[in-house]
Symmetry: C2
Subunit: 302 residues, 2 copies
């Protein structure tokens, strides 16, 4: 038996995409949505992000056998506490947060009597809010599930089926490993992008309008990442601190080596590194995790 | 009078794109191409990258009133020396190299009796070689011209017209300022991308296949940049050393602050920075320097 009633708390990019994807891929399943922002609820109704938009968190979850929390990482505990009064005893509570150890702890504390199975679909864009979601966001993307030890295997299987129905590929791992993997593949790239965009906008010798004008040489790719939601990313760094600092320090060590190579005019070691990094790109494209067209298939030259 | 005979030395991404763009936008102008690699010349003939592909550099430039060197930055001096025997005395020699002070020096030394007007179209993709070029590469892109003091204004005007004919917008500045601007908007972004992709592929706790699998969270954008040509980029870092180190040190200072904010759980200063960086993105999109669709308009979710 798969889930029949899915409640979605938080109707931004992730929540909206789940709502649209369920309606597209699982037409027999009902969806209920809730967001704390009344304007978001209004827009969610207009876009039909869920079959029903409730006005309180308790109402939203009343019938649900699966609840997915789609709020910023730092708000997960509060969002879980707000639904506790309305939850069915057999409901599975999951989420889509970008870090997992801190959220697992917060959810278990807020809902000690419920089945908690955290998850993280590795899919997103730089946009947020109720207009950002789309039904194909999870297609060909990985969803990492981090089941607590002793999690009900039957419920876990149903959650795996659910994500596969939305077009995702599922992998399970423990929350600490998830947090390390995502520190490298997502959190550090965002940290770096935010930082360099900040550096570039504060220079004395180069004006901000020059930076904007000549951004097509590489910088604009970083600005896309650095346009991501500030609340979401603040929460990620505050809640995945250890793994982020560990990976940041590896990166800083390598950047210091690169700096030495430039100072020493050591072209050979640069060439070696630049050749190795190409291979990784090829694997990512081969595995369907990126668009193979040059420049990501951007349309701005036409 | 605009240029009538354009010679292109080096038939990779830039040279090929210029050849195709001239044939598309300036049908009355003849193009001659040369590349030191015989296989590239063969492929250039097949794709029609220029109306005529010559087998020696001297032949390629014999009739040309404009010669554009489209070879890696470190090879500019040698490529200029190789055409010196065949050049018309009135020919303008230009280039497309990504750094300008070192190239200006190399070209002036190799061709002391000719008019040298260096240029840099700020347009590219991660691909290189004779199959990479396309006629619209320069559309809506800036081309920075760095005329030496006392450059013939008539010839300079013709070069400006030439680039505008290919769809570019032209700006002039001195080579040292160019090198600083591009260090920020292009060279440092590439340096960072190469470094983080290297870091990610050498970790102990996270495997390379995990990095590849879960790259959609941000990392894959860096791999696209880090798939750029190793020779080209080694030459850029070796030839724009001072400006690159200056900007790198600004970035390192800011990254150290960010690290402190994470350690101190200082969410407020993160939030402030992440909010500021969004504004820059909006300006870049508003000025037509990037595709406004989410995820650059990638097609890999479909
Ligand atoms: N964006 C990505 O690329 C991506 C990818 C994978 C996972 N994630 C994770 O997905 C989660 C949601 O991100 P998103 O991009 O969808 O964010 P979003 O577009 O900003 O949407 C979040 C929505 O949740 C609402 N909200 C906040 N606290 C709430 C609460 N206690 N109860 C009900 N609604 C609440 C927000 O309203 P307010 O505006 O009033 O706060 C907002 O409308 C985050 O945990 C993030 O880490 C994001
Ligand atoms: N790629 C970008 O995004 C971009 C953007 C703006 C400017 N640029 C600049 O444009 C220039 C060319 O870059 P590209 O991307 O077009 O490189 P590319 O695709 O690798 O093409 C360069 C071509 O020049 C050939 N070559 C090397 N030395 C030569 C010589 N002495 N005489 C004749 N041909 C020679 C190379 O042959 P071999 O393979 O035998 O070396 C290769 O076929 C570089 O200076 C770069 O900095 C690049």
């Amino acid at each position: 038996m798969s889930f029949q009633h899915v409640a979605i708390i938080g109707l931004g990019l992730l929540g909206g995409s789940i709502g649209l994807a369920v309606q597209k891929h699982l037409p027999g399943v009902t969806t209920t949505g809730y967001d704390r922002d009344a304007d978001v609820r209004l827009r969610a109704r207009e876009r039909g992000l869920a079959s029903h938009i409730a006005d309180t968190p308790e109402q939203a979850v009343a019938d649900a056998d699966l609840v997915i929390l789609c709020v910023p990482v730092g708000t997960m505990g509060a969002a879980a506490a707000a639904i506790s009064g309305g939850l069915r005893p057999d409901a599975v509570v999951s989420d889509v947060g970008s870090s997992k150890a801190a959220i697992t702890k917060a959810l278990s504390e807020a809902l000690p009597d419920h089945t908690i199975i955290p998850a993280h679909p590795v899919a997103g864009t730089e946009n947020s809010g109720p207009d950002a979601g789309f039904a194909t966001l999870f297609h060909q993307r990985w969803c990492i599930i981090t089941p607590p030890t002793g999690a009900d295997t039957h419920k876990l299987d149903r959650l795996v089926d659910f994500w596969e129905s939305l077009g995702a590929m599922v992998e399970t791992m423990d929350p600490e490993h998830h947090d390390r993997v995502l520190a490298v593949t997502s959190h550090i790239p965002h940290l770096i992008a935010y930082t360099i965009v900040g550096t570039a906008s504060d220079l004395e010798e180069v004006t901000r309008s020059e930076v904007i004008k000549y951004s097509a040489g590489g910088f604009r790719d970083f600005t896309r990442i650095a346009a991501s939601d500030p609340t979401m990313w603040r929460d990620v760094f505050l809640n995945n601190r250890e793994a982020v600092l560990e990976m940041l320090d590896s990166f800083l060590t390598d950047l210091a080596h690169m700096r030495e190579s430039i100072i020493a005019s050591d072209g050979e070691s640069m060439f070696d590194l630049f050749t190795r990094t190409r291979a990784i790109r090829r694997s990512i494209v081969a595995l369907g995790q990126d668009d193979a067209r040059p420049d990501f298939g951007r349309g701005d030259h036409q």
